[in-house]
Symmetry: C2
Subunit: 371 residues, 2 copies
């Protein structure tokens, strides 16, 4: 077996973890290979705050043989050299005199720098980057690099870019297959849905994750709600206020805390006060707040104004667009991106098509933004 | 061989004709099969005004044997029983005592009614409809049924339905592969391109058919030009005024003929005066005029106002939409359908997706309208 083969095994191990259990950490797998080429230990990071993949792999290897001084450790992500929730893995590697470490992808966090630390301490460090490992931890890498959640924007539009008629009526543009895909695929792995109070009040959707044959799964919700309209007495029965046991609603308001002390705040609803100079909210502050609260990947399901604001601030990474087989020619029908800012053709946002998929007469186009 | 097999042969024969040579007639193929099952005559309609398929097939059969009284005639479309440009085929069939005729599709023109005429005269008439024959003469059938050309609307849009920025700049939304497809496939078989003087003057496109490795092919052009702006002296050099030898420009104006007598009209430019009560033009009059001038299939390549007007009057049959990987969030960017008329979601136009095709990051969605 080649290094790539062993590293692909660490990819499969890493992939077996539950994403929500691990976040905001990356998915990591590791194996210890003996001098004869046998895999004598393997493990993966299972739980945020719990042991790293290397710990499991080395512990298992030690049950096979005491001496690891002729073994190789394959690890899907650069080992850490700092003390976070757990002691640094580099010390464990050095302690057991593992002479060679092969790494499948690098950790962008400068605090990690395990590779150079190991090399400085006499370990042979090889880098053998696998594309599947880049993809696996795409959200983690993006969080590290951009200091914000990964944002996926989803919308269902007429083939001419409208999300609703001039009265705001949008039911049902997309077909049931498309709507099922949203639950089964898009909502399944994200940390939260982001929307606006306007959308929440107008559509009164539950915004959880429902897959046929399974119980509904709760989903964190981030609601941009400048004046805390969703807390008004008439909105008490909104479906988003279902009984939550392991999720929260973050109501983002422009009001200062003194102003909302009077509100009757339901359980599991957290009010976040963020200035809204541009009408949406200061995205730098929001981004930091969300990341601190382990909200690493966010699905935007909102109206055209919020969509355009996130777009303008380059806070959209992927777009899932359901093109539905209808036309609203009315100029006052609502646009999927709704901005009053003048924009020349040369200033248009550019994207890369990732895939196309048909659900009967709906077509799902998936794009990546070229920031 | 079954009747379907013989009729499929007539489909292949019919398909070998040049569409522009035959229009406004349908494509038709015919074969004469002897009592032993051999094909002893075959033919297809080659040229508008020339002999019908049945004539060629029967003539060839007569070179093999004088007596056709035990043969079967297979014909892709119901034979005619009236005198048009040529004598009725039913008389030829009766004259040669052909006892059995198998028909692959019916002619919607009530003047044709060859099947009942033959049956009334003792011929065994069988109908065996093949889907490929319906598709083959789709334009002809539509012309007969709706008394207008078939209209195909083509547009290249941002993924949110814009065709240009607020200044009208549209170059280049779609990529070169998409633009080549327009020439190689869409413009190739249509009788004319329909557009507006505004588009012609702004884009100054040639609007002919250019396929790499071939000489450019002329294309009829229908230009909605209310005030004959394209004939103004400053527009003399517009590329559409290339030297035409076998095509025409139809300038559709709201002006009465006295008003445009003063204009210096280039060769092969025909001015058509049609009332424009709705700002575009009376589509019933335009449709009759175009059909009379053998313009059976029209490609609409225009701006949002004309697109919406044709849409409103149910004068679009197919839509070819190139979804380009960019976003113009600006509300003042130009819409692919631009209408001031209020429209509810329930009144939106409904379509059926026919196919999807990718050209790099452009996606071509092809729809049929459900009128």
């Amino acid at each position: 077996m080649t290094s790539s083969d062993y590293l692909h095994s660490t990819f499969l191990l890493a992939s077996s973890a539950s994403i929500p259990n691990v976040r905001p950490n990356p998915l990591v797998g590791a194996i210890v290979v003996s001098e004869t080429g046998s895999i004598i230990g393997s493990g993966y990071h299972q739980q945020y705050g719990g042991p790293h993949a290397e710990v499991f792999a080395i512990q298992e290897a030690l049950t096979v043989q005491d001496d690891l001084s002729k073994c190789t450790l394959y690890v899907s992500l650069e080992p850490c050299s700092h003390t976070g929730k757990t002691p640094p893995c580099t010390e464990l590697i050095l302690k057991h005199k593992i002479p060679r470490v092969v790494i499948g992808s690098m950790d962008p966090n400068p605090l990690v720098s395990g590779a150079s630390y190991l090399a400085a301490n006499g370990v042979i460090v090889e880098e053998c980057f696998l594309p599947e490992l880049e993809t696996l931890n795409e959200v983690f890498f993006l969080n590290q690099k951009l200091k914000r959640p990964k944002y996926i924007l989803k919308s269902a539009i007429t083939l001419n870019g409208k999300i609703a008629d001039r009265n705001g009526e949008s039911k049902w543009l997309s077909n049931s297959q498309s709507r099922n895909f949203v639950h089964q695929v898009l909502r399944k792995n994200v940390s939260a849905i982001l929307t606006t109070a306007k959308t929440v009040i107008k559509d009164n959707a539950t915004l959880n994750c429902r897959v046929e044959g399974n119980d509904p799964v709760e989903l964190n919700l981030v609601v941009i709600d400048k004046n805390l309209d969703s807390l008004k007495p008439k909105n008490k029965q909104l479906k988003i206020f279902y009984k939550r046991t392991n999720s929260k609603i973050y109501l983002v308001t422009a009001l200062a805390s003194e102003a909302f002390e009077k509100y009757d705040v339901p359980e599991n609803v957290i009010i976040v006060s963020i200035p809204m100079p541009n009408g949406v909210c200061d995205l730098n502050i929001l981004n930091s707040y969300l990341l601190q609260n382990k909200i690493c990947e966010v699905l935007i399901e909102a109206g055209g104004t919020l969509n355009a604001a996130f777009l303008e601030f380059n806070c959209v990474d992927e777009l899932y667009l359901f093109i539905c087989p209808s036309i609203l020619a009315d100029n006052k029908a609502l646009n999927v991106f709704n901005s009053a800012i003048a924009q020349n053709m040369s200033g248009s946002k550019k994207l890369q098509l990732i895939s196309t998929q048909s659900f009967d007469s709906d077509v799902l186009l998936r794009y990546r933004f070229l920031h």
